[in-house]
Amino acid sequence: MFQHSIKKQERITGYLLILPWFLGFIFFYSGPMIFSFIVSFCNWDYFKNLSFIGLDNYFKIFDPAGHAMPAMRRTLKFVFLEVPLQLFISLMVAMLLTRKIPFTRISRTLIYLPSVMSGAVGGLIWRYMFNTQTGLLNYLLSFVGVKPIPWIENPDIALYSIVLTGIWAIGQPMILFIAAIQGVPSTYYEVAEVDGAGKLSQFLNITLPMITPAILINIIIILIQQFQMLAPIIVITSGGPAKSTYLFSYLEYENAFKFLKMGYASALSWFMFIIILTLTLIIMKSSSKWVFYQSEKGKML
């Protein structure tokens, strides 16, 4: 009797403790998600007219004459460039900042700072830097004799310029990498050095495998973030020039708030959700092949 009552009390306390989060989840997450799912099967101009149209919105996504498929292609191209770029740079910077050199603490803070800035503010700064005639980038390049590059005016290179702006946001993955790198027991390095392994070999055979969990987390986080990236595009190029930076997130934004086509926009966002979910699941599935968790020390050696 006594034991039952304690268990029950603990259970009730447990539910009460998670109640705030749970209510928040219902009202701010799953409620709107269900609503958006229903709306995706309708035509809705956000105010008056709501009419059920079945799967038409989803068919429209695959319309060859439409903008959704090109936008998704561009987004995939963008993400597959951006994720490796951010991973690589943040890892290199993290490696650098875990050495015993001066100013690592303050460097970490400075490098992390831009990712705190809102995407719109950062985007604005990039737009002025990209300006062909008066921007900072072309100004610096002029010192080495390079002619002005039309960063965001040439449809062929505009997308790559936007990819470039991603180096702004490496602060977050870098922090995770630093923590992971510092978590590698130094005994491994000592042993390796005794065996005559060079720095590069140490990096490839000790550091990299040991931080694969951090790599996995960063891949997934960066992947999801970059699929949804929107504010910089609105501010820097508005999807132009000639739609070269018109990503899927921008298509959703325009349809929802400029053309007042909430139904279609909802369908678009569910489509994106499925794509991101699929990619994430694939990566998680593959992780068992290449991610090493320290608790399985036996397998490694």
Partner: protein
Amino acid sequence: MKKGITIILLMLLIPVFGLLAAGNSEKDDNAAGDVVTVSYITWDSGKGVEITQSIIDAFEEKNPGIKIELQSVPQGYDDKVLTAHAAGDTPDGLMMWNTSQWAEAGIVEDLSSYIDRDNYDMDRYLPVPKLWAEYKGGIYGLPKDFTPRAIFYNKNVFDEAGVSYPEAGWTFDDFVSTVKAINNNESGAAARYGYVAIPGHTYALQAFIWSNGGDLCSPDGTVASGYINSEAVVEVIQWYKTLFDMSISTGTMDAYQNLGQNEFQSGIVGMMDNGLWPLSVYKNDSSLNFGIAFPPVPHSGDSVTPVIHSATWSMFAKAENKDATWEFIKYIGGPDGARVFANERWGLPVFKGMAEELGLLDDEYMKVFVELGAEANKAPVFLRNPNWFEADNEFKLALEQIFLEDKDVQTALDEAAVRMDKILKAK
């Protein structure tokens, strides 16, 4: 255990009480006393708000029972309007530019009954700004100030190149020769460009297309084929492409209307197409020696059909204090309000004869804008169909393909026409 639960429950309830209290205090203000508070939103900031506030002060003196609370929303104005309406909690009044979309969506109140009740004379307004307020038989606001687009030219740059200033009646070919004469193919601070061109500025191009006898779509806004890809339009786009290839272009999209303002002010550009907004900034810049000219016409003898920018003083459909808001709209949208804005050179007055009455024709810059304003006889295309923005995106894409990727003009416009038809016809 019990203490812990109590603390958690308290933590949950305190913010709830806080929200309730905040909500209640708003309602109390209006209940006490006889003063009605009308909330009005504007997209202006700085000088615009100053001018509007001065009109509000004058109105409040004449109407002691009404207080106007002006809210400035310089960023995300459209979003604020849409979300406030969707949430059901809107201010009382707003400035409105997007008549077709907002009237169609039921965001703004049809003021026809107020206008009839008070015998408010709508015929005092110039015809084209008046069209801004009208949609499907209703009247959704009182016209605000307006501005046509004209050509700004930098006298110093012209003198340097030895080119004579533009005269009214000059043609597309004259324009091209002028740009060619000013371009000097140098770079950096010594560079001189005849014109600052914009690759996808569909709004400004309307004027040139109309002057050439063409249009962007049918008068009822449902068909693009036969209009957007007609010979008249192709001719205009080909002319602009010639200009674009020779000109400095402003790829950065700032406030949509003020493209080119910075480039022109830097002194390396000879001409710019703009409304009168830069005037207030330029007049205080003593290094800038400029003039205003009529836009060029396609062929000698053609008449110019300018495109104007305007807006209306409107009321939210979900406003709480409609009668008080209408009193304010009547004042600021009436001759008293219009006079103040015009005297500040903020925009042209929308009332017939007021520009002459205020002596604007004696102002060397305002004179051209007033004369152009009198020539306006067409309202911009977006007022015809709420789906126009989506269709316009296709037109803009075609233009960018033509200007930036050298696509053939007729092909690009033909393809755009097909997509635009589908969009314009959709419900």
